[in-house]
Symmetry: C2
Amino acid sequence: MIPFLGRVDEREQAMWIEMLSNNMPDETIVAFADLTDAQKQNCEIAIVANPNPQDLLSLPNLKWIHSLWAGIERIMNELVSPPFSIVRLSDPELSQVMSEAVLAWTLYLHRDMPTYARQQREKSWIEQPMVKAQDRRIGVLGLGALGRVSAQRLAQNGFSVAGWSRNPKQIDGINCFYGEDGLASLLSQSDILVCLLPLTPDTTGLLNEQSLSHLPEGASIINFARDLYY
Amino acid sequence: MIPFLGRVDEREQAMWIEMLSNNMPDETIVAFADLTDAQKQNCEIAIVANPNPQDLLSLPNLKWIHSLWAGIERIMNELVSPPFSIVRLSDPELSQVMSEAVLAWTLYLHRDMPTYARQQREKSWIEQPMVKAQDRRIGVLGLGALGRVSAQRLAQNGFSVAGWSRNPKQIDGINCFYGEDGLASLLSQSDILVCLLPLTPDTTGLLNEQSLSHLPEGASIINFARDLYY
């Protein structure tokens, strides 16, 4: 028996339980609220969507929980040293969709689309200076599953791309920086900064007035993180 | 001696003559207004930027004119059966820049960015249905230098791409249609229609109420042409 624990409304919970049950016909998936005390003793796995931490701790034999979403910052913040493992979604399709969004918003800024939209409303037509993609420096914060694919997609579309991660990484065509010194270097050469880091104790406070002061004048930030790291 | 003929202001004309002279030190490039009658007899080449057709016809020995721009519809419309050849700009960089613009605006519509911008102004947050790139059908009208590279760039970024030209063409990864029947087929499966045709007597009237009625409900048009063909 696998309980579903989530702070979602009843309709959405029923939808998830139905879809999960249809796709895992050998498992019995039930709402946490429907578990008896005896059943709680036996649960080894739980499927979660922003669960109430107290509910999780009432399952003494839990070995691992599987989060429906890629974001883990809420679980990480609410559960300090949980006695079970946390598994989260990592889906190649998600990387594709995210890299498409990164590309869409990078092009939006690169091609000055907000300026032209404003000018259109003001009925003015002033041609903006054209910058070639190879002269537009994009900095990607975070080189995990999402950041790596996004950085590569930007490079494939002609941008000059650098990336930053806490630990050293190597990615073809991407100028990779790491660590505290590397962060200042990356920021100092990012005309557009794309944030794809998870929010964890390690990234909290990463972006602040001091670190952002390294950005070149007129730089833009595209924040795809669940929250900003400050 | 090569005259420069253009309906541009004096400052812009001086800039062009200076830049062209610097890059072609063996040639003498002068403003049309500065030509003597005798010099007019000797001109075989002219550099033009939306020239006055009467001025061109006052150069009896003109063999060819070179337009500064890619667009030729104004010259084509204003000069019927000219006694000289027309050369226009065809620059691989222009294809790259155009394909980037095509991609930027396609992503803008594909990712529902206008809807979210409106919602942001209205302080509302309603998640729009997500469509995968491979399920978004893009139709590219015109498969010349610009259309071909644009169609390929869209396909590289995951879209389902079809193209149309007057005569049959073959492009890897692009479903190519041609002719009048092909136009109706292309339009009927274009969620987003990208117009990259030149405006010529052959394309005039191509898009009209009847042909556009083949578009699926809710389709969008991105018009990069100098004018619409109706």
